[in-house]
């Protein structure tokens, strides 16, 4: 558990960690998490509708 917390601390010190902090990063930085999640969602939708097979 302690190791896990250590890793998340380290991640937060990195550029990515700063970007996803709600206030540190700008809009461009927020898109780092928003766009990939949205893309995954569309892949899932394509799978559900049978477009992938």
């Amino acid at each position: 558990m302690r190791r896990l917390i250590g890793i998340s601390r380290a991640a937060e010190e990195t550029r990515f960690g700063r970007a996803v902090s709600p206030l540190g990063g700008g809009v461009a930085a927020q898109f780092i998490w928003a766009v990939p999640i949205a893309a995954l969602l569309w892949v899932a939708a394509a799978w559900a509708m049978g477009w992938l097979s």
Partner: protein
Amino acid sequence: MDPYAALIQPFVEFGFMRRALVACLALSVGSGPVGVLLVLRRMSLVGDALSHAVLPGAALGFMVAGLSLVVMSLGGFIAGLVVAILSGLVARVTPQREDASFAAFYLISLALGVLIVSTHGSNIDLMHILFGTILAVDDASLLLVVSIATLTLLALAVIGRGLIVECFDPGFLRAVGGHGAVVHFVFLTLVVMNLVAGFHALGTLMAVGLMMLPAVAARFWAGEVAPLVAASSAIAFASGYAGLLLSYHAALPSGPAIILVAGGVYVVSVVAGPRGGLWARFMPRRHLEA
């Protein structure tokens, strides 16, 4: 029954289960952050009020165009927005607080909705609008729900900072000229949009369940905003998945099954959550050195 047959096969075998699952995923991704922000802004009951406000719009849409996805969604969206705007206006130009004006307008809206449905529709239509039918989500509904989730994510990425500051220190946002009212209104629009998405799957009565229950449960697991959002979305999706399986294997209605699972997660969180849960409170661990 082997685990594969119990946990995965229904989704592989049946298209309607797949679409229902992805609809749940989209709802979790969109409603997760919206619910967390509602809780943080102490507006938990506003979500409830708006979900009821959606009813007359959806019913009017049904009256005009039958069970048409687009028209019913649009109607619900407009009705919810009208209630949000009127409540906001009354709160801004009179001394009445926003929670009170919300209560007044949603009750008016709800009564109108029930009136319309009961005079113009059959009981089955009423059941559909009130309780939704996630197992009947077709491709068009799924596209709508996924589009709303996408729009929500992008909008939150854009106005996230404004939202957080407006709820933490509204005076500061006003002092620096940060357009708090615009941010607030965009946020209310997102709430209504997500309730419309939820109403297709869960019905107007329970659409707000997948928004609020995971969000309030998440407060027992995480402290900061980003982890709260992640926890809330994860709980919402897990509830959707488990609820769908429950409804499939036990032949239960899917909407209540999903919300009840989310409710169960909430109760477990109250008891076992590390942040203020009962267990942590009565079985304190030794304090740290610094």
